[in-house]
Symmetry: C2
Subunit: 333 residues, 2 copies
C-alpha cells in the first residue's frame, strides 16, 4: 500500500507537466517563436539542468495592452474614460463648454486629445478619482461586463489573445508565477484580471493614483485622489517590478517601446533569461502596426524600428502575429 | 484502481489540514486567544459554512516589529543603521563633527536621536541609499547572518516568536496567503523573510525609498535614491495593502498604534474578519511594555491605552505573551 501510494503521488505530481507537454500551446504555429518558449521552459524546469531555476524564482511579467489583449484602434481604458465622461456629464454641466470634455462629448476625440498629456490626465482624473476604491472596482466591473470593441462588437475581455492565454496557463503549469506589469491602471485591471487571465489582484502591477484612508460613517474606506501616484511605463516598469515583486523576472513579455526597460532589466539578471515582443503585423485578423515589413508606425503602443533592431541584437524573441499565431482570438472558431 | 486512486487523492488533499488540526499551535497555551484563532480558521475554511471564504480571498497581513520578532530594546533595523554608520565612517571623515553621526559614533544614541525624525531620516538615508538594489540586498544578507541581539546574544533572526511562526504555517496550511505589512524597510526585510518566515519577497510590504533605473557599464540596475517613497505605517498600511495586494485582508495581526488602521480596514470588510494584537506583558521572558496591567508605556512601538480600549470595544483578540504563549523563542528549550 505504501509503495502504491508513493507511485500514485509521484504520478499525480508529474501528470500536469506531462499532460501540458503534449501540446500546451495549440494556437501557436510550429516555428522558432514557439520553439524558443518551450526550449526555455524545459531547460529552467528540468532538475539537474545547468539552467534549472527553483520554483519561487520562476517569475514571468507580462505587459497588458497589445501583449495580452487588443489595444487598437485605441487602448481599452480610453473607451472606459469616454463612457465615464458621458455617464458623468449630467452632473457636470460645465463640461459642455470646457475642454477636453466639450469636444469629447461631441464625439470629437481628436480635438479632445489635442491638449496632449495634460488633457489626457484631466480626463483620467475626472473619471478615475473622487470615489472609494470599492466604488471604483464596482464601476469597472459593471463597465467591463458589457463594453464592446468598436470594430468586432465583441466584449473587450474576448479581445484577449488566445495564444497568450495558453502561454499563461503553460507557464503556471510549470511552476511560474505570472504577473501583469502594465502602463494601464492597476485598479482598472484588477477587477477582471483574475477571471480573464487567471492572475490574482496581488500579481497585477500598473499605474496608480494616490489613495487616502478615511473613516466615513464609522466605516474605513480608501478614497481615490486626483493625484498620480506612479506611472508604470518605460523605466517605471523595472522600478515597479522591484517594488511589488522584489525579484527580477526570468521571463518578460511586451509589445512596445514602453516595455523596453522591463526586457532589459529581465535580461540583465544572471542565469537563463527570456524576453519576447509581440509584433502586430496581421492587419487582416487584428491590426497592422509597428516597424517591420513596411507597416506604418503609430505613436500609441509603438513598436519602433529602434526597438526591433535592439530585439534582434539582444536575441529577444519577436512573435509575428501573422506567422506565429494559428489563431488570435478564441471567437474566431 | 480508479476508485482507489480517487480515495488516495482525497486522503492526500485532506491530510495536511487534518494533521495540523491535531495541534498546529503547540507553543500557544489553551485559552481564549488560541481558541479564537482556531475557531475563525475553521469557520472560514469549512465548505458550506456561512462564513466560508474561497482560498484566493484568504489574505492575512502581519506587522513585523513586535509582532513577528522582538523590537526591544530598539527595532532591529536601528542596529543595522548603527553598524552601517560605523562601517561607513572611514569614508566619511566629516561625520566625526556632524550630527547625528558624531554622537552615534561616540555611542551616544540619545543625543544622536535628539534631532527627532529629521535625524533618523538622515541616518537612514546615509546608510540605506546610494547603492544599487542588488548591492543593498547583499549588505543586508551579510549583516543579518551575524548580527546579534544586545541582551540575549542570539541572532536577530532567532528572536522571532515561535507561536507566530506556528501561526504563519498553520494559516498557510489552511490556504491563506501570508503577507508582512510593516513600517520597516521593504528591502531590509525581503532578503531574509522567505527563509525566516516562509514569506516570499512579493508578499513583503514595507516602507521604501525611491529607486531609479539606470544602465551602468551596459548593465541595467536600480539605484536607491535618498528620497522617501512611502512610509508604511498607520494610515499608510491600508493604502499599501490596497496598492500591493489589491484585496482587503480577512485576518490582520499587529502590536502597536501603527497597526490600528490596518486592523480597522480589515474589520471594515464584509463577511468574517479577525484582528489580533500582541501585548508585550512578559518582562521576564521578553520585554514588558504597553498600557495594560500597569506596565510603563513606551513611545516606539507603543500599544497605548486608547488602542487597548479600542481592541476590547471592537472584539479584537489581545494576546498576552505572558499567559497565552507557552514558549516565546525557539531557543528557550
Amino acid at each position: 500500500m505504501k509503495n502504491l501510494l508513493i507511485k500514485v503521488l509521484v504520478a499525480l505530481l508529474l501528470f500536469p507537466i506531462a499532460a501540458f507537454a503534449a501540446d500546451s500551446l495549440p494556437s501557436w504555429n510550429d516555428g522558432s517563436a514557439k520553439q524558443s518558449i518551450i526550449a526555455f521552459v524545459e531547460k529552467v524546469t528540468k532538475p539537474g539542468s545547468p539552467d534549472f531555476v527553483p520554483v519561487p524564482e520562476r517569475i514571468a511579467t507580462f505587459d497588458n495592452d497589445g501583449t495580452l489583449w487588443c489595444e487598437q484602434p485605441a487602448p481599452v481604458q480610453l473607451y472606459f474614460v469616454l463612457d465615464r465622461v458621458k455617464a458623468l456629464a449630467p452632473q457636470h454641466p460645465e463640461w459642455k463648454t470646457t475642454e477636453p470634455f466639450a469636444s469629447l462629448l461631441k464625439g470629437d476625440l481628436k480635438t479632445a486629445l489635442a491638449g496632449g498629456d495634460r488633457a489626457i490626465l484631466q480626463l483620467f482624473m475626472a473619471t478615475h478619482t473622487g470615489m472609494t476604491t470599492v466604488e471604483f472596482e464596482q464601476i469597472v466591473k459593471n463597465w467591463i461586463a458589457t463594453a464592446r470593441h468598436p470594430k468586432t462588437g465583441k466584449l473587450f475581455t474576448d479581445m484577449t489573445y488566445q495564444p497568450m492565454l495558453e502561454l499563461l496557463a503553460y507557464l503556471r503549469a510549470n511552476g511560474f508565477k505570472t504577473f501583469i506589469v502594465s502602463g494601464g491602471g492597476i485598479e482598472f485591471m484588477r477587477p477582471w484580471a483574475e477571471q480573464v487571465y487567471g492572475i490574482p489582484p496581488e500579481q497585477v502591477v500598473g499605474s496608480s493614483v494616490k489613495t487616502k484612508f478615511e473613516m466615513r460613517d464609522g466605516k474605513p474606506v480608501l478614497v481615490r485622489l486626483p493625484e498620480l501616484n506612479f506611472n508604470d511605463d518605460k523605466s517605471g516598469k523595472p522600478v515597479a517590478i522591484n517594488q511589488h515583486i522584489g525579484r527580477r523576472p526570468i521571463m518578460a513579455f511586451g509589445n512596445s517601446d514602453g516595455d523596453r526597460e522591463m526586457l532589459e532589466y529581465t535580461q540583465g539578471g544572471s542565469g537563463a533569461r527570456f524576453e519576447l515582443l509581440v509584433l502586430h503585423d496581421d492587419a487582416t485578423r487584428e491590426y497592422g502596426y509597428g516597424p517591420a515589413k513596411g507597416l506604418p508606425d503609430v505613436k500609441l503602443g509603438a513598436f519602433t524600428q529602434t526597438l526591433y533592431d535592439q530585439a534582434k541584437k539582444n536575441n529577444w524573441t519577436v512573435v509575428s502575429m501573422k506567422d506565429d499565431w494559428k489563431q488570435i482570438f478564441a471567437f474566431e472558431n
